[in-house]
Symmetry: C2
Subunit: 123 residues, 2 copies
DNA sequence: GGTGTATATTACCAATAGGTTAATTAACCA
DNA sequence: TGGTTAATTAACCTATTGGTAATATACACC
């Protein structure tokens, strides 16, 4: 197994989005924002067996979202910034689009308000 | 079926990320950035049966990423901005984290360069 | 060396995802 | 009415996901 985060595989993004498509895993990421955590610590808030937690961590790891170190019998997990940045960058591409969309929504709402006033007058 | 995008269900985000975790669907979204498109038009670049395309569109629709209209026998798809913005907002929460991370990476790289120079001198 | 603690692996299961082909609906055209 | 085009639905298959319980491994402590 050679390729890792250096080879930008065709859909690293799929792996990343896939990893994020689970509330348990997103909660883990949020926890890891405050710093390293052991598997137990990550497991505690989730009513779920340890193997299940282990699987979730493996998904996060394969997506490059976390790395795991070793400290005696503990495997501290650490959040990795790069994939999150990839997501933000991807989403950012659409900023112009949604700005336009919300402008249109804005116009639409203003138009609706005008019409409502007219109707109110008619009554 | 009542609740839709107004009720911010516990994991709309999971549905959105799940929908984005597929390169075919992301490609469709990219296509829709240029405007409405019919199912056929969306299908063309993807070597895949029409029913498969239909399923992908349904996933995108259930995540709120697209809406589908009707124009005679065509069902034009239109991209929706809001869920993309949700993703961007979610990712944005981590900006402070990755700024710190990249600062650390920067320091690390500078440190490495210093060491390399030292080693170069030793040789 | 034995015991408890932290974590991973294995084996298994049900549900879901992603694809197929064939059939069906819906609208237009002549 | 019948034929063509656009799209969806149905039925099916296989691989993956998300969970479990039981077992194994690695380390710390007495």
């Amino acid at each position: 197994m050679v390729q890792q985060h250096n080879t930008p595989s065709p859909d690293r993004l799929s792996a990343i989005f896939g990893a994020l498509a689970d509330p348990t895993r997103r909660a883990m990421i949020a926890t890891l924002l405050t710093g390293e955590a052991t598997v137990q610590e990550l497991a505690k808030p989730h009513d779920m067996s340890l193997p299940a937690i282990s699987k979730h961590l493996k998904v996060l790891e394969r997506a490059g979202l976390i790395t795991r170190g070793r400290d005696a019998q503990w495997r501290p997990c650490r959040l990795q910034a790069a994939p999150l940045k990839e997501v933000a960058d991807w989403a950012e591409h659409f900023r112009r689009f949604w700005n336009e969309s919300f402008d249109r929504l804005d116009e639409y709402l203003k138009e609706m308000q005008k019409k409502e006033k007219k109707n109110a007058r008619k009554k």
